[in-house]
Each structure stands twice: as structure tokens, then as C-alpha cells.
């Protein structure tokens, strides 16, 4: 299925969860947060949150600033 990750259209496996996405793209990084369709997905629900076609995901991490 096709989803959008950080503004880029991307094909992923149908059964992909938020947890899969985080471990694939932000592995080893602490201080990560995820929004799906502009809703926060709490860390405790990453495993249990499957992604659907057309979902828009923001995968964010700590950076210097402010």
C-alpha cells in the first residue's frame, strides 16, 4: 500500500504498524514521536497501530533548536 512518510509517498507492506516504521527508520534513536493523520500515536500504542492506505505519517525526533 502507498502511504506518505514525512511528506514523501512511499510503498510499504500491507501489515505495517507504527512500531515497524519506527524500528525501520528511527532505529536506536531515543526521543521519537509519531503522528498519523495529524493525531499523536502514543508510544504504548505503536505495536497495536496498523497503518492504512493513504495514511500520512510524521516521524519526528529531537533536534537542536530554539
Amino acid at each position: 500500500m502507498r502511504i506518505t512518510i514525512n511528506g514523501v509517498a512511499t510503498d510499504v507492506e500491507d501489515e505495517t504498524t507504527v512500531a515497524d516504521l519506527v524500528s525501520g527508520r528511527a532505529d536506536g534513536r531515543s526521543r521519537v514521536a509519531v503522528a498519523v493523520n495529524a493525531e499523536v500515536v502514543p508510544r504504548s500504542q505503536w505495536e497495536a497501530t496498523p497503518l492504512g492506505p493513504e495514511d500520512s505519517i510524521e516521524l519526528l525526533a529531537a533536534t537542536a533548536g530554539g
Binding site: 514525512n6 511528506g7 527508520r25 528511527a26 534513536r29 531515543s30 526521543r31 521519537v32 514521536a33 509519531v34 503522528a35 495529524a38 499523536v40 502514543p42 508510544r43 510524521e58 516521524l59 519526528l60 525526533a61 529531537a62 533536534t63 537542536a64 533548536g65 530554539g66
Partner: protein, 270 residues
């Protein structure tokens, strides 16, 4: 004395006059932003020299983020992290960013930034107040970056913000405190802690903020973009400490004419 030794020597002086923010005690009255440093090594040395205990961090998309290693450096420094909503332009965006930051950083503290314009980076007062109200209702400890407007600061305090953080001048401008009178008026109007945030250029600006009644100073660029960030961090620390001491000591009144410090009595008739 090395920079490190001087920094260490200041700790007991600062510890004698701690600063309360949302129920937490800090002995350092200097808050540091992490943006603008040429490297993590420079940032780390600046943090150590500054003596700060609270530093701001932003959230950005993972692939564009330069944050790899940042959290580790900050953990090593033993500082508390204060996530911000840098770059947000609407209350909706800022509230969502704050909620994401709460997840990422495991803290309900947020430096709330809602800017109205990318050229000036000045806060949008209406969006800011709206976002502050929503976040307070959601249980956040809200520390808003605000205009140097005493009435807006009072409104932010009234909706439950834990502090107000007025700008001295635009972010990164180094123009210092352009309207000191407003900062002094704000001090009279709000009882929550006041943190001068943005516009500091050099140590005398930091001292002035404290003399005007601020409880602390938050700065980034003035240190991280200085030629010698570590030395400037130490200078800012001295500035904050000196300004605080002066504010507590009670300055002499300003006078139009001179007032001799040497008595006229006993002057020889030459």
C-alpha cells in the same frame, strides 16, 4: 583559572539564590537553546560553561534531523530538556507539536512558540494565547515565548501559564532589550516567573534583563554563534549572576546632577 574552573567556582554562589519554575528548583538562572552551534562538541562545552540546568530542543522530521547524538550529549551534561514548538504558526500546529513533544520527551513542559511571520519571527499573540489556553487545559506546564507586551503577558499568566518569556528583540537579532520599560512594567503586572527570551546579544544584555526584574534569561544564538561559544557562555553566566546580584542589592536612584561622594566639610582653603 580555566573556563571550567571559573564555571565550577560560580556554582555555590548561584546555589545560594535558587530559582523556582513550576515547582522545580534550579540554581542556574540561565536557560540555553541548542540551535545554531557549529558542532555538538562546541555545544557541550558551552552548556558546561554556562552552568545551565534547562535546555530547549526542537522536534523535526527524522530524515532532515541533525539530532543524532544530541540527546546523548544533553544526557551527559545532566540537563533537563525543555521541548519547544519552534516554527509553528498556528495554535493547531503548536498544540499538536506540544503533544508530540510530550510523547517524545516524556515531559509535560513545553516552551510554546507560535510565530506570526517568518521574517521577524515575532509571536502571533492571538494564536499564542489560544494555544496556551488549550495546552494548560490539557495538563501542560506552558512556558510561552511572548512579545514584550505586559498586557499579553498578564493574559498568558491568567490562563495558567507557568511563566512568561518575553522577547528583548527578534530571535537571533542580537539587538538586546529594545523596550526595557515594557519589561519592567511586565514585572509589576505578572507574578509568575519571567524569563527574558530572545534578542540577547552580549553579557550586558543578560545583566540588564535581570536588573529589570527577570527571574532568568533564555538565549541560544548569542552563545552558539559567538566566535568562542564556551567563553561567551561563561560571560552570559557572569552577566546573569551580576544582574541578579545588582537587582537584589538595590541600585542608587538616577539623578540629574552630580552628588559628591567626598564630603565638602574639611576641604582646605588653598
Amino acid at each position: 583559572m580555566t573556563t571550567h574552573e571559573v564555571a565550577r567556582a560560580l556554582q555555590p554562589i548561584e546555589a545560594a539564590d535558587p530559582f523556582q519554575l513550576a515547582g522545580q528548583t534550579f540554581t542556574s538562572r540561565l536557560l540555553l537553546g541548542t540551535g545554531g552551534a557549529p558542532s555538538l562538541e562546541v555545544l557541550e562545552r558551552a552548556i558546561v560553561a554556562s552552568g545551565t540546568q534547562l535546555v530547549t530542543v526542537a522536534l523535526r522530521r527524522v530524515e532532515t534531523s541533525t539530532g543524532g547524538g544530541l540527546v546523548e550529549v544533553l544526557n551527559r551534561c545532566g540537563v533537563r530538556l525543555l521541548p519547544n514548538t519552534a516554527g509553528c504558526m498556528t495554535a493547531r500546529e503548536a498544540v499538536l507539536t506540544a503533544r508530540l513533544a510530550r510523547e517524545a520527551f516524556d515531559t509535560a513542559w513545553v516552551k510554546l512558540e507560535v510565530i506570526g511571520d517568518e521574517d521577524t519571527l515575532l509571536p502571533d499573540p492571538l494564536e499564542l494565547l489560544d494555544a496556551a489556553e488549550q495546552l494548560v487545559a490539557d495538563g501542560f506546564t506552558v512556558l510561552p515565548y511572548t512579545n514584550d507586551d505586559p498586557i499579553l503577558a498578564r493574559r498568558l499568566a491568567d490562563v495558567g501559564c507557568a511563566a512568561v518569556m518575553p522577547l528583548g528583540s527578534p530571535i537571533g537579532s542580537g539587538l538586546g532589550i529594545r523596550n526595557p520599560h515594557n519589561i519592567a512594567l511586565m514585572r509589576d503586572l505578572v507574578s509568575v516567573p519571567m524569563v527574558l527570551d530572545a534578542g540577547i546579544g552580549t553579557a550586558s544584555d543578560a545583566a540588564m534583563a535581570m536588573e529589570l526584574g527577570c527571574d532568568a534569561v533564555l538565549l541560544a544564538s548569542a552563545v552558539t554563534r559567538a566566535r568562542d561559544a564556551e567563553q561567551m557562555a561563561l560571560a552570559m553566566r557572569h552577566g546573569v549572576d551580576a544582574g541578579r546580584l545588582a537587582a537584589q542589592a538595590g541600585r542608587i536612584p538616577r539623578r540629574w546632577h552630580a552628588k559628591a561622594s567626598t564630603p565638602l566639610q574639611g576641604r582646605p582653603d588653598l
